[in-house]
Amino acid sequence: MLPALFERFGLNQLWPTGGFPGGVHPPEHKITADSPIIELPLPPQLILPLKQHIGEICAPLVEVGQHVLRGQKIAKSQGYVSASVHAPTSGTVVGVQDHAVPHPSGMGRPCLMIEPDGEDRPDESRAPISDYRNEDPALIRERIRMSGIVGLGGAVFPTFIKMLRDQRHPVQTVILNGAECEPYLTCDHRLMLEHAHDVLRGMDVIMHAVNAQNGVVAIEDNKPDAIAVMRGAIEAAGMDNVEVRTLPTRYPQGGEKQLIQTITGKQVPEGRLPLHVGVLCQNVGTAKAIHDAVCLGVPLIKRVVTISGDAVPNPANVCVRIGTPIPFVLAQCGLEDLNDVRLIHGGPMMGERLPRTHVPLVKSTNGILAFHRQSLYSEQAVEEPCIRCGHCVEVCPAGLVPNELAWHCRNDQFDRGQDYNLFDCIECGCCSYVCPSHIPLVHYFRYAKGQVAKIEKERAFAELSKARSEARDNRLAREQAERAARRSKVRKQHAPAADKAAKTAEKKTDEGKTGEGKTEAVKKEGDKA
């Protein structure tokens, strides 16, 4: 009702600076914007977690001691929402064991260890599909699924799931996300500059697969060179249904919902997918990976990562095999000693600090930032009470009221938190960024979301236990009833004999009794007489 009214009065563009409400503009620090992508050498050992995506963990397909080829599938997905893992190079599997992964908990996951043999021999069983325009979309989708491709912007959601041709929700527009709004990160920027053609081909594959009519390449206006290159490449390829859209530089412009709102003016309703507003959003890196998988037959075995931060002597954009240990990557950029260095996995706004340094680079790694301890912690001041300045409300792109929300989360009032739409928070960190009282607002929301999930899980377990305990009580009661029934049945069946036996027994006791009883009876009779 209200949106319709807004539209009627031409007010649906209430946010003149472009698209979504709120947002911030942190210092960009894009120091690696001019460094070309460098291919890194192979490390002595690769560590491949069996789960690098959202969804079910994979099952290993290889054994210790087995030799594998580059691109060979080494772990297969179990369940629908999952993405298989491929060997990044040829070599020998030397172990299947738990190893720490890039995760804020510092905990481990089952991983496959591969020792490269240095020959890098490819597995050539997958033929390229060069004429994809005349290929069955279902086949292309299957190829993308088989190639283990996930959203490389950081969300790592299996890509093939989003590429469904759904009659009820046809996709009109494919948006290629090249916003790269996080400070420091430049990997998508460099990909567009150096591989514009491949990226566009990947986008064309997506558009064909979902039968989309037009495409938009979304780039923030702080990357004029990428905008020019992409425009040129589109013209050269003759893709007249694709356009480059320049977006204002504002974090979190690259958030899926924010980007869609900026470009189409439509809001993705709570709990729905971009598909429901006729849009499919893919990251630039994902488009390149799709191109490699479909047009070259190469599964997802490497990705471009930005290595930056004040502790890195030679910040760079590097193309790395997935599974390469992060200390090895940092050593290639001149950072050997990791004592007194704090690592951040991802960008500074949404990334997570790594409590362990010896972890592999995974599919979700779009950046590794290394900071000197002092530079990271000197700025961190103590949390002070909220002064109700409202800055957090102004910048929240999800339209939440972070200060109120944090108040409830801090007091463990998660129901109230959900009334304030806790789960609409995209954890962009804008609120924490602007808060003058240094309240770690987004941390409260992460905490609260975890607690809600935990409580929900405990409740489900309690329900299960209750059902099992009730089932047991019923079973015991039933067994007892059955036993009683059987007893009475046995008695009835043998009724004549049993009755007789019972009677003789009774008589006997009677007689026995009458031995003494008789005298009494006699006595009584005598009395009567």
Binding site: H99, M107, G108, P325, K449, S465, K466
Partner: protein
């Protein structure tokens, strides 16, 4: 005259309201004692009997009748206590015993003589086995109530800490140090040395 009018009007209104209320109380009559169910719903259903009652429903019944205190459920801890106190409309009371870390029963199978006593003791049927066969605990169903430990004649059941897995990890509240397990990968340092 005026006074009579007033009395009649007010009296009439009172009468109508009375009739409406009487009808409503009939029409919207609630059967049974919903309080027991409500209290049972906020209990963790461990069925451990640490409250002194033989299970969660009996405890809920006792609380609802005012016989038991609101703070007796140990596994439920403060959260259950607050919820019950809220339902009963009484002031919260401190839970005396600390809720322990979540535990699981584990049968040392080579020592098990297959007596089925633990199977009979388990309130949620989480132990499987047959006479003279090894018994084993279904981890996903064990509530950690410890009721099976006592009956075992050869003491082959241990309570072990539930293993923390990454999938169940959640962020700690701000200001509290996140728990990073320090002993997870003993060989990690060697690895670091060999791969860098």
């Amino acid at each position: 005259m005026n006074i009579l009018m007033a009395i009649l009007t007010l009296g009439g209104m009172a009468l109508i309201a009375g009739i409406v209320l009487a009808v409503a109380s009939r029409a919207f009559h609630v059967e049974g004692d919903p309080m027991v169910d409500k209290i049972d719903a906020v209990l963790p259903q461990t069925q451990c009997g640490q409250c002194g009652y033989p299970g969660c429903v009996p405890y809920a019944t006792a609380v609802a009748s005012g016989e038991a205190d609101v703070n007796l459920c140990v596994p439920g801890g403060e959260r259950s206590m607050l919820a019950i106190a809220d339902l009963m409309g009484v002031p919260p009371k401190e839970v005396e015993e600390e809720a322990a870390v979540p535990m699981l029963a584990f049968v040392r199978e080579d020592e098990c003589i297959g007596c089925t006593l633990c199977i009979k003791a388990c309130p949620v049927d989480a132990i499987i086995g047959a006479p003279k066969q090894y018994h084993t605990v279904i981890e996903d169903h064990c509530t950690g109530c410890t009721l099976c430990v006592e009956p075992c004649p050869v003491d082959c059941i241990d309570m072990v800490e539930k293993e923390q897995v990454l999938e169940e990890w959640t962020w700690a509240a701000p200001g509290k140090r996140p728990s990073v397990p320090q002993t997870l990968h003993k060989d990690e340092e060697n690895h670091a040395a060999s791969t860098v």
